[in-house]
């Protein structure tokens, strides 16, 4: 109901401000536009029906029928078999790498014979521990022998089982190093950003520096330079801040952080007592980024504040 009252209020407001003499013209334009819309709609419908008719001989349909509701293809997978679980239809799709700023969870494969004592440290799997086939009957025995922290990867094949392929595939998935990959660029950026937000400037500084040196071509590289500048700026280290803002602006002039970098460069120069350079820099935000409205507004305010 709030939605309803919202646009009713808006309607009343708009009616109240509309001059009376404009009403006629406005109504006529409304009527014309409405007519155009009706004609457009009719044309779209006719085109659609034409397409349906053209498709008809091929589909051997008796009449134009509305689209037939279809079950999704994936349903073919289900219902699940009674006797045996289906082999995985696909490996995990490349998950959208959402850097959600929340804790990234570490994953370590667990092998069938892995002992509880081996779990908590979540050790990466040793390379070269190639699992060899064994039979289920040997499992308890093997488990009993498993010791001192080493993985004992086994491909389990039930005697007479035709599941070898599926099980091997699973095992292959388990031994994939996907989960053991080093930190992704996004992770590194987020970790550094988090450190900055938590005022852990040392961690933030080293993180952003690492990012810039490792991934200079990454689309967050400009942001990393800018954030490195922010890390210095927050510590009132305006000389280093200015260098970072300058690098962010010069190296990534079309980066998302370019307008902010230019403004903050000006502010850093101002704090360093370089008034003329500061004023020139802050003043250039306007001409460099005519569309960056918010930054421009701030630049204008800072321009005044710096006594330019």
């Amino acid at each position: 109901m709030l939605k309803r009252s919202l646009f009713i209020v808006a309607l009343l407001m708009s009616a109240a401000v509309m001059p009376a003499h404009a009403d006629d013209l406005s109504n006529r334009v409304d009527a014309l536009e409405e007519q155009i819309r009706q004609l457009t709609g009719q044309m779209e419908q006719l085109n659609f029906q034409l397409k349906q008719l053209q498709a008809q001989p091929a589909q051997k349909m008796g009449a134009i029928a509305p689209p037939v509701p279809a079950q999704p293809q994936q349903q073919a997978v289900l219902p699940l078999p009674k006797k045996k679980l289906p082999a995985p239809q696909a490996t995990v799709q490349a998950t959208q790498q959402a850097a959600q700023g929340v804790e990234t969870i570490e994953e370590t494969p667990v092998l069938p014979t892995m002992k509880a004592a081996q779990m908590p440290a979540a050790q990466p799997q040793q390379a070269g521990v190639a699992p060899g086939p064994t039979t289920l009957g040997a499992m308890a025995n093997n488990a009993a022998q498993a010791n001192d922290g080493a993985f004992q990867g086994q491909v389990l094949v039930a005697p007479g089982s035709d599941d070898t392929a599926a099980v091997s595939q699973d095992q292959a998935a388990l031994t994939q190093p996907a989960t053991l990959e080093p930190e992704t660029p996004d992770d590194l950026f987020l970790r550094s950003e988090k450190a900055l937000l938590q005022l852990q400037y040392g961690d933030a500084e080293s993180g952003f520096k690492e990012f810039i040196s490792k991934y200079p071509e990454h689309n967050l590289a400009g942001s990393a330079e800018f954030k490195l500048g922010e890390t210095y700026y927050a510590q009132q280290n305006y000389a280093d801040a200015a260098k970072s803002y300058m690098a962010s602006y010069k190296q990534y002039p079309k980066g998302r952080r370019a307008p902010d970098s230019l403004l903050k460069l000006g502010l850093s120069l101002s704090r360093l007592g370089q008034k003329d350079q500061a004023c020139a820099t802050i003043g250039s935000v306007d001409s460099e980024f005519p569309n960056a409205v918010e930054i421009k507004k701030r630049a204008q305010a800072e321009f005044k504040r710096a006594g330019c």
């Binding site: 808006a10 819309r37 509701p69």
Partner: protein
């Protein structure tokens, strides 16, 4: 209808039948798929994790049950008690309780971090199917459980995971004639709900960025609607372009670098779709048709955009190339179509369909074929996709003074409809990508 009213009708999808009582029908709540019986044994708890251990087993069972594809058996029915993570299951006893899959697990804590490990077995073939351990600070214990459930779900159904995700939505509190609308976020199962804004403005259409920590939304403050970017970590918000006219219905591009949205025309009659590059702040006009063109949503590869337009006299769904060329209407069923959303796998467009006093949520192929209604009733609106394109979440409003909108999810087969619990009334959900 005046032109300005038309804009507002699009801004907030109007429901004509709001005052008349209408029996909810057409809702299918039972699945025709036989859920797979699965035994999730109580996870073995290392010292100090006893409470977490019970909770974690419960979360895994709850996730799998809610998906509609699993039937977690009651632990009381288990014959064998698993006392150690190293224990080899007695498969005969598990076959006796008629389970097809068996999960054993363990929770431990070391150095301020919690580790949840599990092993998944096929009871009939006695095959070890999967195993993994996940480690994070203990406050993320729910996420650890979601990760385990995701891996089990993926191994058995073959579908990509989706339990370890979040949902952003509009939290609605207060009486119906004075609702306070806040930006809110929660886990996909309704846990950890929290509001992010104060409620000074009327908040609409929050949408996650695909790869950053940002949300874009429209809000109506003291004046017209404006599009904002909101940073979840810092709580900072910034306006996306300061336009003289209303801006609304924003959504991120798949690479997160652009926001596509609607801008009202100078004369207030129409609205067209524009795209803003967040780096250069450059605006690009995508549609230029004297109609209300809104609710844009990119295809996952970024090459096409689906949107709604009333250029043909009523709201319908269109698809165009991302540069604005080749604009084609794709919805031709009976009724009005709005709020199109492209599925993350690119195969479907979900939409709201209005006709005969009913609001339905449906899906169709991007060329408009194969339309399928997932749910319909008094008022359903605003679909959003789980990242694996298997589940659609939406909101359903109830008539009457005490009624309000609430979130629901439904499988794309149209089965397994579930209410998503929220502390207050809630609307306009948007699902996050999978967390890492």
């Amino acid at each position: 209808m005046t032109s300005k009213l038309r804009i507002f009708l699009f801004l907030v999808l109007a429901y004509c039948g709001a005052t008349q009582a209408f029996a909810v029908n057409g809702i299918v709540t039972s699945g025709k798929i036989d859920p797979l019986p699965i035994a999730i044994t109580p996870f073995i708890a290392a010292a100090g994790t006893e409470n977490d251990s019970a909770t974690i087993s419960g979360i895994i069972a709850s996730d799998l049950a809610r998906s509609g594809y699993f039937n977690p058996l009651p632990p009381e029915s288990f014959i064998e008690q698993i006392g150690s993570f190293d224990q080899s299951p007695n498969f005969a006893s598990w076959q006796q309780v008629k389970t097809q899959a068996l999960v054993i697990g363990q929770v431990s804590q070391s150095g301020g971090r919690m580790t949840v490990a599990f092993k998944l077995y096929d009871v009939n073939t006695q095959a070890f199917l999967a195993g993994s351990s996940f480690t994070a600070p203990p406050k993320f214990s729910r996420r650890l459980a979601h990760k385990v459930a995701d891996m089990i779900y993926n191994k058995i159904t073959g579908f990509a995971p989706y339990f370890d995700t979040r949902v952003v939505y509009v939290d609605e509190s207060g009486p119906k004639n004075a609702r306070v609308k806040k930006l809110a976020m929660m886990d996909q199962d309704g846990f950890n709900p929290r509001t992010l804004t104060s409620g000074n403005e009327i908040l609409l259409t929050p949408r996650f960025s695909p790869n950053t920590q940002e949300i874009t939304y429209a809000a109506i403050g003291t004046e017209a609607s404006r599009v904002y970017l909101y940073n979840i970590d810092t709580g900072q918000k910034e306006i996306v372009g300061d336009f003289p006219n209303m801006s609304f219905a924003p959504r991120f591009s798949p690479d997160g670098q652009k926001v596509v949205m609607s801008l009202q025309s100078d004369d207030g009659r129409n609205a067209n779709i524009f795209e803003m590059d967040l780096r250069s702040k450059q605006m690009r006009q995508v549609t230029d048709v004297p109609a209300i063109n809104t609710a844009p949503s990119y295809s996952p590869d970024g090459t096409r955009i689906t949107f709604e337009s009333d250029r043909g006299g009523s709201q319908q769904v269109y698809v165009m190339n991302a540069d604005g060329s080749n604009q084609n209407r794709v919805s031709f069923g009976k009724g009005r179509y709005s709020t199109p959303v492209w599925s993350p796998d690119g195969k479907y467009i979900a939409f709201t369909k209005q006709g005969e006093s009913k609001f339905a949520i449906g899906v169709m192929a991007p060329d408009g074929s194969g339309e399928r209604i997932l749910t319909e009733g008094f008022h359903n609106e605003g679909p959003t996709w789980s990242p694996n394109s298997r589940v659609v979440m939406f909101f359903r409003d109830q008539p009457g003074e005490s009624g309000g909108p609430q979130l629901y999810s439904v499988d794309i087969t149209g089965y397994n409809e579930q209410k998503v619990p929220t502390p207050e009334f809630s609307s306009d959900p948007a699902w996050s990508p999978l967390l890492k």
